[in-house]
């Protein structure tokens, strides 16, 4: 793939869009009265529109539904803002909507979101609200032997679908979605970290739909893993360990083909590179998804809203490039390079089908995902396995010691024992099952997930003295019970257990006692002791409630 050409195409598309809007702005600007009417119309749509159908906060299912009814607005132009403040009639025009394409009433702006409360009890003090792939505190340490309670509303979300009037056969739409997991200052108090909840972008993109191709530009779920189409149902935060769960700025081309009830979607994207300084080359992603609408079931993405979903199969891949300086304190201009890749396959199988969302009783759906790759750790929701670059040797005992000028996030690549750059391998599987009980037409559901993620080379790429700082395998199991208290309010209970196996192993038990003597090259030890990989486990109970709108 010629990434630079792709990038140029993306820029062209963006420029074309702006130009088209600017022309329309000159002819379509409405007076204050019409703008006010349009505002009323939007409010009506927001209240009675399609928001309730959206699979909230989770999905491109939601995005797909929205694009059928919503079109995005164009942003205001600096020129328009200037004219409002400079004209003599500025007071009258203050309430006037900045000029955009089309009549105000032809736009569809649909807010959505949810207010969520989570009460979480952990048996160790290893995690914040999500089960991030941090190292779990070991038994025998203070944090490993004591509990933590977390109450939070930070996973609440606010979003808006935007649909613009069609123009010359091009449908345009967009989505902006926020949550409250923004970065905080490093010295923030624990209170502030939970209660303040700075805003974070989840999605912010525009979409152009043409008869030839669809284009998505902005931050959205990645093609690799196919976003929310295959997410399992759980009260726990997504992504669960081992699940590909990531959003990124991207320029994406999609093509959807319908053949009877068969729907085939192909997509390719140039994505923000895993390493910003990787020679200016973005990540390349591509995927193929097949769905058969004649066989549908009920599927819920995470703790979202259930939706009628067809049997689906997805495959996708990512390819990326890394360039890092030589492993020295004062590297020259030579770049050490390697590449990463990932391949994933997903399935959504309605074992016991269902046709309508109104009656979900006895619907049983299986979701599954398998992935393999190297240099893709962060696509598993920020995972790095504990891997870091090794310390530089300091043969001449410089003080302060030399520091390697690292230009990449940890966990993707590192230098091995021969000082050669290597990417870190990961494999993962995630299997989920969700069942809707015949109570209130399926208002009560149970689900469970088993997942594991493991690496076959992270230990080999880690100096022995740091084996205790990495994990080579992580396993996760959860069991969930959810119910709709009202059609808009859901209540969920979840039990989650996650176990990490570390790189270090226990030493053999020496022969004890006053008469224990040192051997020649070998202390006498009790047979079959030692060699056990260290591990730690966190168990979590979670209660969640959410109001979806």
């Amino acid at each position: 793939m010629n990434y630079r050409a792709l990038g140029a195409f993306g820029i062209s598309v963006a420029l074309f869009s702006v130009h088209a809007r600017a022309q329309d702005d000159e002819t379509e600007t409405e007076g204050p009265a019409k703008a006010a009417d349009a505002g009323k119309a939007d409010a009506g749509k927001a209240q009675g529109g399609t928001a309730a159908k959206a699979s909230l906060g989770t999905s491109s299912k939601a995005e797909g539904e929205a694009t059928a009814t919503a079109q995005p607005p164009a942003p205001s132009t600096p020129a328009a803002e200037t004219s409002v403040t400079a004209d003599a009639g500025a007071a009258d025009r203050a309430a006037e909507r900045p000029p955009v394409y089309g009549k105000r009433g032809d736009w569809n702006i649909t807010p959505y979101g949810y207010a969520r409360f989570d009460a979480i009890e952990d048996t160790t003090q290893s995690f914040d609200d999500g089960i991030q792939p941090n190292l779990i505190a070991r038994v025998g340490t203070y944090r490993g032997d004591h509990r933590r309670a977390t109450f939070t509303a930070r996973d609440s979300r606010l979003g808006v679908f935007i649909g613009a009037p069609a123009f010359q056969g091009i449908k345009t739409s967009g989505q902006i979605e926020l949550d409250f997991y923004g970065l905080q200052v490093s010295d923030a108090k624990k209170h502030d970290q939970v209660v303040f909840g700075p805003v974070r972008i989840r999605h912010a993109y525009l979409k152009l739909e043409t008869s030839v191709l669809d284009v998505i530009a902005g931050q959205y779920y990645e093609v690799f893993g196919w976003g929310s189409y295959f997410y399992p149902a759980t009260v726990a935060y997504l992504g669960v360990p081992g699940e590909i769960y990531h959003r990124n700025p991207q320029l994406r081309l999609e093509k959807k083909i319908h053949a009877g009830q068969l729907e085939i979607m192909a997509a390719a994207a140039a994505v923000r590179p895993g390493q910003r300084d990787a020679g200016g080359i973005p990540d390349g992603e591509a995927g193929l998804k097949i769905a058969y609408n004649g066989w549908t079931g009920i599927a819920t993405s995470g703790f979202g809203r259930p939706a009628v979903t067809p049997i689906s199969l997805g495959v996708s891949g990512v390819y990326r490039h890394f360039e890092i300086p030589e492993f020295r304190g004062d590297p020259g201009s030579e770049a050490h390079t390697t590449n990463g890749y990932g391949v994933a396959a997903q399935i959504l199988l309605p074992v016991v089908p269902a046709k309508t969302i109104e009656d979900k009783s006895n619907a049983l759906t299986l979701t599954g995902e398998g992935s393999i790759g190297t240099g893709i750790a962060e696509l598993y929701t920020g995972m790095d396995g504990g891997s870091r670059f090794p310390l530089l040797p300091n043969p001449t005992m410089k003080n302060p010691a030399l520091v390697y000028p690292q230009n990449i996030d940890p966990g993707l690549v590192t230098y091995d024992r021969n000082f050669e750059v290597k990417s870190i391998n990961w494999k993962a599987i995630v299997a989920g099952l969700q069942y809707y009980l015949p109570i209130g037409n399926g208002r009560v559901w149970v689900s469970g997930i088993y997942s594991r993620v493991w690496s076959d080379n992270i230990k080999k790429l880690t100096p022995q003295a740091s084996w205790g700082a990495i994990f080579t395998k992580m396993e996760y199991i959860d069991a969930n019970l959810g119910m709709d208290i009202t059609p808009a309010v859901a209540l969920g209970f979840s039990f989650q257990t996650v176990k990490q196996t570390f790189g270090d192993v226990s030493a053999p038990t020496p022969v004890y006692g006053a008469s224990g003597t040192m051997g020649v090259l070998g202390v006498p030890t009790i047979p079959n002791t030692g060699g056990v990989a260290a591990h730690a486990r966190n168990n979590r109970g979670q209660l969640s409630m959410a109001l979806f709108f």
């Binding site: 038994v139 302060p400 205790g468 270090d504 070998g522």
Partner: protein
Amino acid sequence: MTKHPTTRSQAPLAVLCGLFAALTNGCMQEPSCPTLGACGGPPPSGGWVLSPGHPSCIEDLYIAPKDTRVYGGEVPVARNAPVEPALYDWCDLLITGSGANIQTKSGAFIYESGPIGRTTLSYTPDPGNPMAGHYALGTTRTGTYTLDFPAVCMREFGAMDGKPALDPEGKPMGPPVDVCKQLEPQVAAAGIGEGSYPNVLCERNPSDLAGCLCFFDVSETGGGSGLYQILPDHKTIMHLPSGNFPQKATFCNKGSSLELTGADGAYLFGTTGLRTMNLAASSVDPCADGAQDGDEAGVDCGGSCPMACPAPAAPTVP
């Protein structure tokens, strides 16, 4: 007939809440070291050693080695970001000098959760007060460990085969040898200060021929001494070491055996990770058992032993 759906739905909700509470009130990580007896018994006195076949128990912890880049520089200069976290050095802080010999090794090697292989513990009650007195503890962490020095570490900085090994003072020792053999005295010397690394053997790594594998025994002594007192529950003993924080331990003294467990999850005698010790009464005087233990400065001398240690002999070149 009036329906009361709200009342009806409260029962399953209560059950769910109960289930939630049950799930979150258990499930803690099980300690690797089960708690030993805390029956109390008579205040311990006399000498004790680890019971044969009843090891002490130490949790399998990981204590990261110090980041040598930030020694003395933990607070970066204004507007300079702290250094990125890093793992340990592939070369285990191996240092080569300006010459072609392996010359020195900085610091101690990292070996994890070294089990305690030998222990001597003595309680000496105050005259007329069996509930308090003086204690002395000696521990020896033992084990055989392997260090893996990659070829880059052994060669990149100028070290060459065919040079004599150097002693810690930089003087040649014996005939020319390969870099692995040059490394042996450096590894042995690295243990000085934290115990000793006897029986060092360094060989070429079969899977990395230019690199070296070094095997060595560890015999790291530790312990401490201070005052103790039996607390009013007659099941807990508080050790008051000189130069450290007080430490509590539950005990079960059956005359011939003494079980000690760090109280309330505390580490025993302040040794990181050490949870329990199962001790047997020792009829052997620690100052005459032919080993350096307890707070002895040498074999059966120094520390609390009545015999002072002889002055160290001047090092000799073989």
